[in-house]
């Protein structure tokens, strides 16, 4: 059985696509780039001696289509530009942001007003002792053009191959932009034209999860992706197996492992969280414990999922080793944390969470997964994870979608949803038996406030005695 249904393999995921871009996408990126530069130039010209300014732009032009029952629930076309200003003056730091209209005269006046408000607040605030001096960290310019469906083509392209399926999910497609400039001359521009179709198909209460993402829509790829999900759904029609709470050998497919290591972005790898007593990896950071020697994790921008520059315009190393053979190499340290605690910054963003987490594959071959699992649980996805005891890095969550009871290397049938509760020091430590040789990319599909960039690449993981509680 394939490790996960309907997901791009790492080697084929999102190479930069040039040419074939839709006229609208080119218009949007080009129009926004010119507008951003004009607005920035005006603001930077306005600065008084002793003032330094950092500017960040997040923009997108996205068509969202939500599906239920292979029909359209809602379609929303969103064009948005958001500009943030960080003023540093007389040791004070003030940050303000606003929506831009795209009209130069209106935005020039509005952002000048924002700068004025920053100055007024700087007069009132105490000195910021952790302020990071603004520097020129260099410049970059990356644009990735794709070949997306025209808006009026999207629905037919999705639903016609899925006729007869009970499909629910979200299509999002268009251009996403991140840009940064500052008063020292730094300038970064990143624009990418991509889509994703994050979906699940149902057989009554049971569902198989799929995701099709890229920069060029291909009817053949979508059909193949859907076919894999349908195959998985057929397995779910077997009689449900009643699994009692207990400890079972479990195989976490790449998407499930992606869910689990996603917890590392919730304070675990943050240097400030460690210094402030909030990191579940305190014992790892202080070398009291280590993870499995099978486990190595990098922050890997070579995956091409997200720009390397952060909101200060600092450029991270292309690859940053985080965990090597189970030992922590470094936490993620942003410049502000570095200044406060005397650490060395490594290009981390403000939240000090991974942006392109890459778990190094192991040696377990795809064909051997079920045999090595023997008797236990095959888990395609996990759901709603949270720290249940942060000091011991214990996490709770649920199983979700295509999860099966396996006996003697054969799938017997789907299981009911199970709650689990397990320490990462165990699941990724002494209980980790093997990682698969094949890893898969899980591109970010978050759409809170704006379309997210980034993602992770993970293999599957065989874990002994994974603890199920309810």
């Amino acid at each position: 059985m394939s490790a996960a249904p309907g997901r791009s393999q790492a080697s084929s995921h999102r190479s930069a696509q040039h040419g074939g871009a839709s006229v609208n996408a080119i218009d949007f990126a080009g129009r926004v780039h010119a507008h951003f530069d004009r607005v920035c130039n005006h603001l930077l010209d306005e600065l008084a001696p002793g003032e330094e300014l950092t500017l960040n732009l997040n923009a997108e032009d996205t068509l969202f289509v939500r599906f239920n029952g292979n029909r359209v629930r809602q379609n929303t076309d969103v064009e948005q530009l958001n500009l943030s200003l960080r003023l540093q003056s007389q040791g004070r730091t003030v940050e303000k942001s606003r929506t831009l209209t795209g009209n130069f005269e209106a935005d020039q006046a509005a952002t000048a007003c924002l700068l004025s408000q920053c100055r007024q607040e700087a007069l009132v605030l105490p000195i910021d002792p952790n302020q990071v001096p603004i520097q020129n960290n260099g410049s970059s310019n990356e644009e990735f053009r794709g070949a997306l469906l025209a808006p009026e083509q999207v629905v037919a392209a999705v639903v016609e191959p899925a006729e007869g399926c009970d499909l629910a999910g979200l299509y999002a497609g268009g251009t996403v932009i991140r840009a940064n400039r500052n008063s020292k001359g730094q300038s970064h521009w990143f624009a990418t034209e991509t889509f994703f179709l994050d979906y699940s198909i149902y057989n009554g209460p049971k569902a198989a999860k799929g995701s099709y993402a890229g920069s060029r829509w291909s009817a053949a790829e979508w059909a193949a992706n859907l076919a894999r999900s349908k195959t998985l759904l057929q397995l779910l029609s077997q009689p449900q197996q009643d699994v009692k709470p207990g400890a079972y050998r479990s195989y976490l497919a790449p998407r499930a492992l992606s869910d689990l290591v996603g917890m590392l972005g919730w304070n675990a790898l943050s240097a400030s969280a460690w210094k402030q007593g909030r990191s579940p990896f305190k014992k790892l950071a202080e070398k009291e414990l280590r993870l499995s020697p099978l486990l190595s994790i990098d922050e890997n921008f070579a995956l091409g999922l997200t720009p390397r520059f952060n909101s200060l315009g600092e450029v991270s190393a292309s690859t940053l080793p985080l965990i090597r053979d189970g030992a922590l190499q470094t936490l993620l340290v942003n410049s502000r944390t570095a200044k406060e605690y005397g650490l060395v910054a490594n290009g981390a963003n403000e939240s000090e969470g991974p942006r392109a987490l890459d778990v190094r594959p192991g040696s377990l071959q795809q064909a051997d997964i079920l045999r090595e699992l023997g008797t236990g649980l095959y888990l395609s996805n996990l759901h709603y994870l949270n720290w249940s005891d942060p000091v011991s890095a214990r996490v709770t969550g649920m199983t979700r979608y295509a999860c099966f009871w396996v006996e003697d290397g054969e799938i017997v049938g789907p299981i009911q949803d199970l709650r689990w509760d397990e320490s990462l020091y165990s699941a990724l430590g002494s209980k980790l038996m093997a990682l698969t040789a094949q890893a898969e990319i899980d591109p970010a599909v978050d759409t809170y406030y704006q379309r997210a960039l980034g993602g992770s690449r993970t293999p599957g993981a065989l874990i002994d005695g994974f603890t199920f509680t309810l």
Binding site: L63, Q74, V124, L170, G277, T396
Partner: protein
């Protein structure tokens, strides 16, 4: 409200007759974050988000286009985009809607407050937060002392071709005080928050400093406490944990769009079926739950939802029996069940969906002491720390910051890392006592939807007693 006249009427006219109906929701929201950590400024940010959601009904299908260009030309372009995309998708519509799902409401709403946030100075807020941070400096073991305030001012103007014209102005404050005590490899965090629709009157220096000191004392005490014991026992939940219990195991499963399957690919489905309304014994007879956007001061109080539906208080669960779901006029049309005015969007750039507003557990008769006196062996838990529930909203596990053992009807020693788990309907049928005094809580960050949205919800609840629940602590 719009600070300058905006060409809404002309933009709406432009959408006709290509659209059967058109609506426009203009939203302007300023969110200001102020933070002090370890007596130093840590966060001074504000964000202004402003734009219009242009909505059309074409061939029985509602579709949307969002723009921040509020000129007539910009709004007209957005309507044209909405019409073109909606026409292309309407053949695959999930339900054939009519303008009846967008009533012609009109009226004004304004948050209750004594002092407008516009009249609350940055210096005043900073002074309060610094005072709170300093008040927590009781020990070097307190490695993190944080005082934060979020201030939100929102104006929403909604107009439509059927004559709707509603204007609502909201002012919200969320203050959070937090202290982390650490020693060796152990650490414990205690927090306190005050959130709701009110104004600058909540920035009272001495009150916040006193509260901060209590937070710091609690964190230090938890650091020395034993782990919560494991086993089945009685459980008293205080209102700042009840809010989470209500939110996750009542609010979400009762959303009609979840029951209809819209949310299946993201947040999940629901164990509640349409035929359960009027019959399902959701909890014990002590359980009465209301949808109440009319309660003054709660985080999600309003007069109209984002489809122009006038809001009213409705009982969702009465004497433990499920009566009504959380569904907008669209969901009601789709499933034929009664609902509420809860068609809400997070911002100008998101379409409305079924959301909670204020979901409240109605008070009972008992004092807190009387609830505790009913417990022979149990634990009292305060303040949510950890939350997780399955995609059908059945199997949950929640953790709290602060626990206290109860033995023979009396509160005993402090315990740390208290957690409990259960299954929704079974758990609510274990409800054996409801306090008489409720308090209001809420969160500004309830996530849901594709594309995703965070929205504000309020939850008022008294303390409650549950019998024979699975309780456990952290690892030794």
């Amino acid at each position: 409200m719009p600070t300058s006249p905006l060409p809404f009427a002309a933009a709406l006219r432009h959408a006709l007759p290509a659209a059967e109906w058109a609506g426009l929701r203009h939203s302007r929201e300023t969110t200001t974050q102020r933070g002090v950590r370890n007596d130093r400024p840590d966060q001074n940010q504000s964000a202004l988000e402003e734009g219009a959601m242009c909505e059309v009904l074409v061939d029985g299908h509602f579709g949307y286009a969002a723009t921040a260009d509020l000129s007539l030309a910009g709004l007209q372009r957005a309507f044209e985009r909405a019409i073109a995309t909606t026409r292309a998708t309407s053949a695959h519509q999930v339900h054939r809607f009519t303008p009846n799902q967008r009533p012609a409401a009109s009226g004004r709403y304004r948050s209750p407050r004594h002092t407008s946030l516009d009249d609350t100075s940055l210096a005043e807020i900073t002074d309060c937060l610094l005072a709170a941070s300093r008040a927590m400096a009781l020990s070097e073991l307190l490695v993190n002392r944080s005082a934060r305030a979020m201030l939100v001012q929102t104006d929403i103007h909604y107009v439509s071709t059927s004559g709707a014209d509603t204007q609502q102005s909201f002012e919200l404050v969320d203050i959070t005080l937090s202290a982390t005590a650490a020693q060796g490899l152990e650490s414990q965090t205690r927090s306190w928050s005050h959130t709701g629709q009110f104004g600058g009157e909540v920035f009272h220096r001495d009150t916040l400093a006193r509260q901060a000191q209590q937070v710091a004392q609690d964190a230090l005490a938890l650091l020395q406490a034993d782990n919560c014991p494991s086993g089945r026992m009685d459980l008293v939940l205080m209102p700042d944990q009840m809010m989470l219990q209500i939110h996750e195991s009542i609010g979400h499963p009762l959303e009609l769009d979840r029951i209809l399957g819209d949310e299946r690919n993201y947040a999940g489905w629901s164990f509640v079926k349409p035929h359960d309304f009027g019959t399902l014994q959701y909890g014990s007879e002590l359980m009465n739950v209301s949808f109440d956007p009319t309660r003054a001061g709660e985080l999600a109080s309003y007069d109209f939802d984002d489809g122009g539906h006038r809001a009213s208080r409705e009982l969702l669960i009465e004497r433990g029996v499920l009566q009504r779901g959380l569904g907008s006029l669209e969901s009601q049309a789709r499933c034929g069940l009664p609902g509420v005015a809860n068609f809400r969007s997070a911002s100008w750039n998101r379409a409305p969906i079924d959301r909670m507003a204020n979901i409240n557990l109605e008070p009972g008769q008992a004092t807190l002491d009387e609830l505790i006196a009913k417990v022979e062996h149990g634990v009292l838990m305060r303040t949510n720390r950890s939350w997780s529930i399955d995609d059908y909203r059945n199997k949950f596990q929640f953790g709290c910051e602060h626990g206290q053992l109860i033995e023979d009807g009396r509160l005993g020693r402090l315990v740390r890392n208290p957690n409990y788990r259960g299954v929704t309907v079974d758990f609510w049928n274990r409800l054996a006592g409801v306090g008489r005094d409720d308090t209001v809580h809420g969160t500004a960050f309830c996530g849901k939807g594709e594309p995703s949205q965070v929205i504000r919800v309020g939850h008022a609840s008294p303390p409650c007693l549950f019998r024979d629940v699975e309780v456990f602590g952290g690892q030794a």
